[in-house]
Symmetry: C2
Subunit: 355 residues, 2 copies
């Protein structure tokens, strides 16, 4: 298995180092050969090649079976022209490889529940996954620009083709089948035409999955429920912009952003895996970052791209054990009990458990 | 002063009755003559006139100085054609009267803090107001419809003119001036052209309000911060769709949706005032609804449309006292301490305090 490794910016390289150690340990144990090759993306790629997504990186990804990505962005690249901003690398790679299905699991870790801004009884039973459409909608619709004699009008376009909605909706149904068989489809059908089409397609697809219970929810209502009843969700599916907002809101539920992995998939096994957190320039290079989201992203890769269920679970269990043993990076540390550790020590603890 | 009163559907009429009693009590005390005239909107208007916003209602509002609205919607109107759905009445009246500035204050009531899904220390110091643009963006942009040979493409349009953004941004700055002088402008400038224009306009306007501290925040980040650090906000300003989502999320912070009023304003003193909660068909007609959001909407009307600051504060204090005395409608009731009351009793308690 060949893996393109794109550490990116900020804490990206640090957490990636930890994740690669974990990958190696799992490979050794199960006798898998993982071939990793590093490439540039984001600000690091702008510095090296003048582009946040250089042709070299695209080539590397094309000959790989999966991509591991750290994080992109930082203050030094914020004032570059639009096309050179680090996030263009991220949007570009999603579109280039048609990674239309962004999966973001949100699950409360027992030993971390006290870190949540929400009350214990509300967080306790949260175990959901958000499926966000990632290559359509307002992010890529045309026209997107200025109009009028004096550029006094700005326009963006929210556009979806039926087929784009169908593939993400079916992905979500199949996922729900393997979980608690509850699907919440989020839209704004009382206002948007794209949402009305979305709803029709969900209803049509639902016929093929009679065992899955489907619920339609308006996006404003979903934003409320994520705060006061997040435990009611199993799989939530929604379009790109709504998914951006709701999945970030949901990432706060557990209070441990540094723990959340994500996968961006297409129809075949190929996928991109990255932590939900960003590049955290303020702590970059200090050895303080929490590597667990990146490590759990490796587990998602093993599961979704390589079909290695057992290997994935082994990593997840090792992470759980390290947390149960009381080890905490700064983001999880609230003083008092437990043992404070840095990025490298945390990664090594997971590796130890695997060995 | 002439007020158009549109009770609407579900619990709308019940909470409106309470609010009108309170209005009368304040009028008597201060010797103001408020002339109220009722009209139809939403499902009630569909039943009566075949349209959710009949010409009669528009006429009534035109000859009034302000509008009080209860709530619209209910299951019996959900399958009507798009143009007859109750929410079209709401969207229509906003557009008809160019009520472009939707103000939604979110403030924790000391005696209700335990109702919040968030931990006490997070809710405690929340006192913010969301200023949502209400007559532009995705809600009204054209084209909005189906395209392609087989209607296989759906499109909505996010469009803003400079002047539309300027007026809402200045409104928000002026509000911030009167409060804690902190303005958070929310956009998605790393993806949307409309957001980039929005950000430029905020930066330009900021020069006229040097005493107001301005911060730009991406919408996904704002959705996170509302959950883990809501106390950091003073005034938040954003476009229509983002405002819909974020203000509903924010309405959960205090755990008392039944307490939140809102105002929809234009440049002059005219405005529409309504509770944030909906028509709650499940408890309609049972005398259980919480009238306080509607009552507090009356206070907002006195303040914003009639310049009656003292009168508004008197209502707000009366509400506070009734809560401090332990009275609770079903939505606030968690058993144990306090006294459970219904809609009418709650309204009468507020009236008593005023007399
Ligand atoms: C960086 C930005 C363009 C990106 C997005 O909005 O998709 C990010 O917020 C994310 O969710 O991955
Ligand atoms: C009913 C609906 C059209 C409306 C909106 O989206 O504006 C409502 O959610 C609101 O926030 O007032």
């Amino acid at each position: 298995k060949k893996i393109a490794v794109l550490p990116g910016d900020g804490i990206g390289p640090e957490v990636m180092d930890g994740a690669l150690k974990v990958l190696k340990a799992v490979g050794d144990w199960f006798n898998h050969e993982f071939e990793v090759e590093k490439g540039y993306i984001g600000g690091a790629a702008v510095d090296q090649f003048g582009s946040p997504l250089p042709a070299e990186t695209i080539e590397l990804c094309k000959k790989s079976d999966a991509i591991l990505l750290g994080a992109v962005g930082g203050p030094q690249w914020e004032n570059l022209p639009k096309e050179q901003r680090p996030e263009k690398g991220l949007l570009g790679i999603r579109k280039e490889f048609e990674l239309f299905a962004n999966l973001r699991p949100v699950k409360a870790f027992d030993s971390l529940i006290s870190a949540s801004p929400l009350k214990k009884e509300i967080v306790e039973d949260v175990d959901m996954i958000i499926v966000r459409e990632l290559t359509g909608g307002l992010y890529f619709g045309q026209p997107s620009g200025r109009q009028g004699a004096e550029d006094e009008v700005a326009v963006d376009t929210l556009v979806y083709e039926k087929s784009e909605i169908e593939r993400i909706v079916h992905k979500a149904f199949r996922l729900a089948q393997k979980r608690k068989k509850r699907l919440t489809s989020v839209d704004k059908a009382n206002v948007l035409e794209t949402s009305r089409m979305w709803r029709e397609i969900v209803n049509e697809a639902a016929k093929e999955y009679p065992e899955v219970e489907v619920e339609h929810m308006l996006v404003d209502v979903a934003a409320m429920k994520l705060m006061y009843q997040p435990g009611q969700f199993d799989v939530m599916v929604t379009e790109n912009m709504f998914g951006d907002i709701l999945s970030d809101e949901a990432s706060m539920i557990t209070g441990s952003l540094g723990m959340l992995p994500s996968a961006s998939l297409r129809e075949d096994a190929f996928g991109l895996y990255e932590p939900v957190h960003g590049s955290a320039p303020d702590i970059a290079g200090k050895g303080k970052a929490n590597p667990l989201a990146m490590i759990l992203s490796v587990a998602m890769m093993l599961r979704h791209s390589f079909g290695m269920q057992e290997e994935a679970e082994m990593i997840e269990m090792a992470v759980q054990e390290v947390l149960n043993a009381g080890f905490r990076t700064g983001d999880l540390w609230s003083g008092g009990r437990g043992t404070a550790v840095g990025t490298e020590a945390m990664s090594d603890l997971v590796v130890e458990r695997l060995e």
